[in-house]
């Protein structure tokens, strides 16, 4: 059975505007890695926010999301809070805006943990934070737990976010463009870290990104989105070696290759 299953998910702003996510469906098995790729405006980020029940004001959601047999779309906000950040964790693009500058990273990891584990004391939670930071290879975690976000580099802040996501031992991690703001060498480290975390904890991953090469390295299955619709779904090998849809083919043709100069990069029609 799938860990997460999304059916006929639709998100719209107002009743007259066209939906930004238009009746999409996909599923993720326990321990699996799904890549959702698309260009800006494809609805890929809205999809993840809709799963988590974190849509911005004015947006409405229809369709169903099942997680481990439980219908998330039917849960009250209080019940949803027991799932969100606990059994399903999120990692966003910009770690600096996800971290509070006024608190040490240790306090933030510990408080996030304590909010899901009633009865855990501050001292125990601090120990959890240190262990989580060690797990993401932050050196001298016992000392750095008392540092503030601005004292970390971009890559280290993303490690802190992943440490926070891991502290509750989630079954699913949703990572929305987790490496887009990072330098390429740091990106490689974070992708390695995510792979290691999955190996060690068995957590499933949904990776949302515009970067096709990143998806090809990380995902087992891929969903290609455009204009709020799923264009194509398949195994990563099938999508990259034998794409069925014209849009997927054109998207792959447009990717600049580091190994090869393409005489004329094929570009997609539509947006001049």
């Amino acid at each position: 059975m799938s860990l997460l299953s999304v059916r006929d998910l639709t998100v719209r702003f107002g009743s007259s505007a066209p939906p930004v996510v238009d009746g999409i469906g996909f599923s993720v098995p326990a321990g699996g890695a799904l890549g959702i790729v698309g260009e800006s405006g494809s609805g890929k980020s809205m999809t993840s926010l809709a799963i988590m029940g974190l849509l911005p004001p004015g947006a409405s959601r229809t369709g169903t999301v099942f997680f481990d047999g439980q219908e998330l779309t039917a849960l009250s906000e209080r019940k949803m809070r027991e799932v969100r950040g606990n059994r399903i964790a999120m990692v966003f693009q910009d770690p600096l805006s996800s971290l509070n500058p006024y608190y040490t990273v240790g306090t933030q990891i510990a408080e996030a943990y304590r909010s899901h584990r009633s009865g855990v004391g501050r001292r125990a939670a601090r120990q959890v934070a240190i262990e989580a930071m060690e797990r993401v290879h932050i050196k001298e975690a016992g000392r750095r737990v008392d540092d503030y976000p601005h004292q970390f580099s971009g890559g280290m802040r993303q490690r802190v976010m992943i440490a926070m996501a891991l502290s509750t031992e989630p079954e699913l991690i949703i990572a929305d463009e987790p490496t887009t703001a990072l330098d390429v060498t740091v990106q490689a480290q974070i992708l390695d870290l995510l792979a290691e975390v999955r190996r060690d904890t068995g957590a499933a991953l949904i990776l949302i990104t515009h970067d096709l090469a990143v998806v090809s390295e990380v995902a087992d299955n891929v969903v290609v989105m455009r204009h709020g619709n799923v264009v194509e779904t398949g195994s990563t090998e099938q999508i990259f070696s034998d794409p069925r849809e014209a849009y997927t083919q054109a998207l792959l043709d447009a990717v600049p290759r580091i190994d090869d100069e393409i005489a004329s990069l094929r570009s997609l029609g539509g947006d001049l």
Partner: protein, 276 residues
């Protein structure tokens, strides 16, 4: 003759908050002894990660920033400290395209005002009037010439970047500096802008200083490559030499970190596309 040459460029910035009443501020060296040559019709890519000094180097070469030491030569002439009319000549020769098209276009100006602004600032005669010149520029970058009266917000990101390129082309520059000019664009739009820059360079013959962190993009557009880290150029050479047989350890590390689609999948996809 070399079109644009940088010799031993150094740029130091004062570190905020380190100056005392009688104590000078600590210095941070953003660009440390950087030299390069750019020839007409060629594209030199400055690549590196954030903080490597690549953008600062480009700004020094374009005279948007003053050097701490070193020399900038344009057509063999020292323009490092050019002022007044001499600086105006530099501005006519070197134009810059920036990363974020929207923040570099005035939202309250029409496209016609935007693309002809360099001509007006440089008090140049505008043959046939601004309307005709603006329409010709829009056609050259693949935009509808009837849209000269529109405002930046009415265009997509890729179209806005075309407007930025049209503005740079207005004065007929011989050096185009592209500072992460395609980095903020979607992959399909990015491909269009890379193609446009390649076509325009073929037609106009300008030299291009292309600043980028994305090595796959650089592979598509560069003639030669200079790899920067911590303010220094660690490796420079013909594009295929740098990508094919990198000499410096940092270049190797940088190339190894780039995510790649498996070659066997790529090969299969090409076979399948042909069969289709």
């Amino acid at each position: 003759m070399t079109l644009l040459e940088a010799r031993n460029l150094v740029k130091e910035f004062a570190v905020a908050g380190t100056a005392g009443l009688f104590k000078p501020a600590a210095k941070f060296t953003a660009v440390d002894d950087v030299s390069f040559e750019l020839h007409a019709g060629q594209t030199l890519a400055l690549v590196g990660e954030s903080g490597s000094g690549k953008s600062t180097t480009a700004r020094l070469a374009a005279r948007l920033l003053d050097v701490t030491s070193g020399t900038v030569l344009l057509d063999g002439q020292d323009v490092t400290r050019a002022e007044g009319d001499d600086l105006l000549r530099v501005r006519r020769t070197i134009q810059v395209v920036f990363q974020d098209p929207f923040s570099s276009l005035n939202p309250r100006h029409t496209v016609e005002q935007i693309v002809t602004a360099p001509l007006r600032y440089q008090k140049r005669p505008i043959p046939g009037g601004t309307r005709a010149v603006a329409q010709a520029l829009l056609s050259r970058v693949g935009l509808n010439p009837d849209h000269v009266g529109r405002y930046p917000a009415q265009f997509s990101g890729g179209q806005a970047q075309r407007i930025g390129i049209a503005r740079a082309l207005a004065v007929g520059p011989r050096v185009l500096v592209c500072d992460e000019a395609v980095s903020a664009l979607d992959v399909s739009v990015q491909a269009q802008i890379i193609n446009l820059l390649r076509d325009l360079q073929r037609e106009e013959g300008f030299g291009c200083l292309f600043i980028a962190h994305d090595l796959a993009v650089v592979r598509q557009i560069a003639t030669s490559v200079a790899v920067m880290t911590a303010g220094r150029v660690v490796e420079t050479g013909e594009r295929d030499a740098v990508f094919g047989a990198p000499q410096h350890e940092y270049t190797r590390k940088l190339l190894a970190a780039v995510p790649r689609i498996r070659p066997e999948w790529e090969a299969a996809r090409r076979r399948n596309a042909v069969a289709r």
